[in-house]
Symmetry: C2
Subunit: 148 residues, 2 copies
């Protein structure tokens, strides 16, 4: 992979704050040309450095909250199998494989009312085999959310 | 707040998959006009339903990984004070206030090498007062990351 240079990193930082900027605007901000920005954007997408252009919504305003499910699987469990079992569930939003007290940290989208949330968590857990230990944290507020 | 309708929710879903689509493209996808899309976008931004247009980068390709720091504060601790103490730290990316075994779930960006990561975690923890219990999970892989 070609090395990323300083301008690539600046571009990533700027796009993480506003991914709708046009090539022309980006070119002005970085003191370069539209063509050069277009080439860098192509490169970043092709290298997979930028995986997606997306939005940050206010979950609460959409009527949801996150439940973070912290899972320790049994020693012989197949973590990747579990990941593939849960990946396609629509309300499963973030899956992180970890090293430490928990093997998996899973963010699921749950209704804001507690009984709805509880049902959703139980329905989620019924999809996970070989759990040794699980903790559920309901997220009441997200004071900061940046990706990079 | 005006209610969000079905088209708003579709628009949010589409933008979460590609936030660079033009009003014209969005209008075609949703069978409406550019003007109507523009109005809906204004509404969603004004209501704060869309907080930011951003990108999803491949952290690993940028040379980083996440460490998830799970914190239980002492019973009398001021959670909001802790949040405000850590919010402005550049490498602190996601702060979630929770109800359950942990009060705070914090994603910090750490170098990929273990000793660099360890130093960063320790430096982060020196900013957090009144910890009763803490667990650190290093994220080795992120098999899924969607926001909504």
């Amino acid at each position: 992979m070609r090395k990323l240079d300083k301008v690539d990193l600046q571009l990533i930082k700027i796009l993480s704050q506003n991914s709708r900027l046009t090539y022309r605007e980006l070119a002005e901000m970085l003191g370069t040309t539209r063509q050069r920005i277009a080439r860098r954007m192509e490169k970043l997408k092709k290298l997979g450095v930028i995986k997606k252009f997306t939005i940050l919504p206010d979950l609460e305003k959409l009527g949801y909250m996150y439940a973070v499910v912290l899972i320790k699987l049994k020693p012989m469990a197949d973590v990747d199998k579990v990941v593939s079992d849960i990946s396609d569930i629509e309300y499963v939003k973030i899956i992180e494989k970890g090293v430490g007290r928990y093997n998996l940290i899973v963010h699921i989208l749950v209704p804001k009312d507690l009984s709805g949330a509880e049902n959703r968590v139980n329905e989620f857990l019924s999809n996970v085999k070989d759990i040794e230990n699980v903790e559920v944290v309901f997220v009441s507020k997200v004071p900061k959310f940046e990706i990079v």
